[in-house]
């Protein structure tokens, strides 16, 4: 190309008034990787960097976000609990032990003193109960003399993993099946709170996801129509969103939840609750999607795709959606905790999920009176689950949002 000098960009031109001849020779401008370069740098140098797509750039940025990594760990932990609840919990959530209502938490001890030797013998101490003559209430005290040996993978009653695979060993538990082991205490019926919190994670953590999934589907369709086609459809959808958003959330949720008849199948209740949460949830997402479509529609590279002759579908799927997918993921992540809290609140008020379904909100229902909280504070522990799950999602979402646009300048 350059042999005959034809395409030497500084070649054979007589200089016009507007084209002073500078920057002779080298083709590449001095500011390679200059102002447009994403604000990440990696050890591999600019050559490798040059070939990184958006997801890799985002990952590099995301990894730098400390809190986001904490969020990942928290969220991953809770989903791990949710997925393997049967195996990870020491009991079945509906196993009760009428001898140990409101048994307080025990400490897990790893070593047992044997003479003057310490031996690795994990164990918990048992309880002695006394009945208060005034209130006739049974109170429990930890009794160091009763040693209940505990082990990994103990043999216990048969259960089915995911309702499918018959198993008889859980991750850990008392060596002797049925021996009292309540690491986080027991509830009114002597059910193990740890077990119930782990199972509660399954419902509470998925209800957020399912609710957000519903919201997302509605939000993307409505937002997409609104943003890409505009006009009358946009007008109608926007007014609907404004209407829905001006309804106070909690009373609407409560009203709708209260409309679910008492005897409804728990699974159906679960489904209906997610639908109720999504009734308002989609509006925020639709706004985000619409905003993105609107701003992208007039973006030069999208117009360039039209000049290329791309169809509407191809423009949307290939040139627009990838540009805001990461933002959507971030928004969705930040929407999950709202759903978790909403479910917890509704269930706590007795309007959401109902026993025998185990969710954190349902568990917290047991801690409604001051008296109960004062005497059996461990019943508040499911609230910690909510707290850390929400925190985890918020950290994660913040990190995702910050990493979502690796091409932002500055």
């Amino acid at each position: 190309m350059t042999a005959d000098g034809r395409n030497d960009p500084t070649g054979h031109q007589s200089s016009g008034p507007a084209t002073p001849e500078t920057g002779v020779g080298e083709l590449s401008d001095p500011d390679v990787l200059g102002h447009a370069a994403p604000s990440v740098d990696i050890a591999g140098g600019e050559d490798e960097m040059a070939m990184l797509g958006q997801w890799k750039l985002m990952w590099i940025r995301f990894k730098r976000h400390r809190l986001a990594m904490v969020g990942v760990v928290l969220v991953a932990f809770f989903y791990f609990l949710a997925i393997f609840a049967e195996f990870l919990s020491p009991q079945s959530p509906h196993d009760y032990n009428r001898h140990y209502p409101y048994a307080p938490p025990q400490r897990l001890h790893l070593f047992l003193r044997d003479g003057d030797q310490l031996r690795f013998r994990p164990h918990v101490y048992g309880y002695t109960s006394t009945v208060d003559p005034a209130s006739f209430r049974r109170t429990f005290a930890i009794d160091d003399d009763q040693i209940i040996p505990v082990r990994l993978l103990p043999q216990g009653p048969e259960y089915r993993m995911w309702n499918l695979i018959p198993m008889s060993r859980r991750l850990f538990g008392p060596v002797e099946p049925g021996a009292p082991m309540f690491l986080l205490g027991a509830d009114r019926l002597g059910r193990d709170l740890l077990t119930r919190i782990v199972y509660g994670a399954r419902v509470s953590m998925t209800i957020g996801l399912v609710g957000v999934a519903f919201s997302l589907i509605i939000g993307i369709i409505m937002g997409g129509i609104s943003g890409y086609f505009g006009g009358v459809a946009d007008n109608i959808i926007q007014r609907t969103i404004e209407f829905l958003q001006s309804i106070p959330q909690i009373p609407l949720w409560m009203g709708l939840a209260a409309a679910i008849p008492q005897g409804t199948d728990p699974l159906l209740v679960y489904f209906l609750i997610t639908v109720i949460l999504s009734v308002l949830g989609w509006t925020g997402l639709a706004r985000v999607v619409r905003g993105r479509f609107y701003s992208l529609k007039t973006e030069d590279f999208v117009i360039a795709a039209r000049v290329d002759g791309c169809s509407s579908l191809r423009i949307i799927m290939r040139h627009m959606v990838p540009s805001f997918l990461s933002h959507i993921i971030a928004t969705v992540t930040l929407a999950v905790p709202t759903m978790i809290i909403a479910e917890t609140s509704l269930s706590f008020l007795g309007l959401g999920l109902r026993p025998p379904v185990v969710s954190w909100g349902v568990l917290l229902q047991a801690a409604q009176s001051v008296q109960v909280i004062a005497n059996f504070p461990w019943l508040l522990l499911p609230g910690l689950g909510v707290f850390f799950a929400v925190l985890g999602f918020n950290f994660l979402g913040d990190g995702l949002r910050d990493a979502a646009d690796p091409y932002a300048t500055g």
Partner: protein, 362 residues
């Protein structure tokens, strides 16, 4: 505003190359944007971004469009590439078989066969390249969606194209963020030319670049024009750039073409007072000429295209305006062969141009 004639305006008598047929023949083109107000989105008026514009572009030439910001240059370019759907008028495009097709009135779907022939180079090298696609896919998109090439053949063509615009062929797997502004604009040029187009609209194609890079890019565009026998519609607000690259130019003011002719004619002997004012602002290359003409400062603002003044749109700012200009809109008239202006007094006024020494020697 309503005194315009609706019959088609006469095209210029001859092109720069004798009696060749125009490649693009724009007639009475209008692009009106509705101005909407309120909750019900009522249309309260129209922004007449392009209003009754006619001009021809001949094969192999560069037609420059100049004018202040907001006068409708981009809108014309976008009508030609059918990013916009013109409100009225025709754009006859000569496909080469003697049966011109009217691009202005094609449905979007029917426009597809011409997508690879009518291309566009954008102003902003940053926003015009999708940061999420590698160079190969950015340049190759037009080849792929129009069924011109695919797979290995597509890659070979993109490599070839990269070399032609002066970039290394190995760059094709890189993403736009790895390039500087000038290099990005070369990628934009490669994208526009990859499908072997006939006509390329360069919308301020160099305005966003550093001056030194501007020169390189303009030279590249000229070299590629020779090599591929391209026709350019070159939009710019910088007259000196337009002077350098164009064969003929059109001067626009508030949606109307007010003067058109060869660069030499328009620059040496402008026929419209607005052109004279624009030219007076061009920096003179020759120091001897610098004091020759005082820069004409136009009073007032550019007229609002949704509410233009009556008569000649330019009259509130025109130093030569007479009573007639306030009421009667001038028509585009040919003053000299191939040189037309839209001014009542185009014949009488003796307007100052710039001596276009460089262009004369071209």
């Amino acid at each position: 505003m309503t005194s315009e004639s609706q019959q088609p305006q006469q095209p210029e008598a001859t092109g720069p190359n004798g009696n060749r047929k125009p490649l693009l023949s724009v007639r009475n083109l209008k692009m009106h944007f509705p101005v909407v107000k309120g909750l019900m989105r009522r249309t309260v008026g129209y922004t007449k971004a392009v209003d009754d514009v006619s001009f021809d572009v001949y094969p192999g030439e560069t037609y420059g469009l100049v004018g202040e910001s907001g006068c409708g240059k981009t809108s014309i370019g976008r009508c030609i590439t059918r990013i916009l759907e013109p409100t009225a008028g025709t754009i006859l495009y000569d496909q080469g078989d003697g049966r011109p097709v009217d691009i202005a009135n094609l449905r979007n779907r029917d426009m597809r066969p011409y997508r690879s022939e009518l291309r566009m180079i954008f102003q902003d090298p940053f926003s015009s390249l999708n940061p999420r696609l590698p160079v190969l896919e950015i340049i190759g998109e037009v080849l792929k969606v129009n069924g011109i090439a695919d797979g290995a053949e597509l890659e070979a063509r993109v490599r070839d194209m990269l070399r032609k615009v002066g970039l290394r062929a190995e760059y094709l797997r890189r993403y736009p963020h790895a390039f500087s502004g000038g290099e990005r604009q070369r990628i934009g040029v490669a994208r526009a030319l990859a499908s072997n187009p006939k006509l390329v609209v360069c919308d301020e194609a160099v305005s966003a670049l550093d001056v030194s890079i501007q020169a390189q890019t303009i030279n590249l565009l000229q070299d590629l024009q020779d090599e591929f026998d391209l026709t350019y519609v070159f939009v710019a607000h910088d007259l000196s750039v337009v002077e350098h690259i164009s064969d003929r130019i059109g001067v626009m003011y508030v949606g109307k073409l007010v003067e058109t002719g060869t660069v030499d004619d328009v620059f040496s002997r402008p026929r419209h007072p607005y052109t004279e004012a624009l030219l007076s602002a061009v920096p003179k290359a020759d120091p001897a000429l610098r004091d020759a003409g005082k820069r004409i400062r136009l009073p007032g603002e550019v007229a609002d295209p949704s509410d233009p003044p009556p008569g000649c749109y330019f009259h509130p700012r025109c130093a030569y305006a007479k009573e007639r200009c306030r009421t009667e809109e001038p028509q585009m008239r040919e003053i000299a062969p191939g040189h037309s202006a839209k001014c009542h007094f185009a014949h009488e006024l003796d307007l100052k141009g710039v001596v276009a020494a460089e262009t004369a020697s071209r």
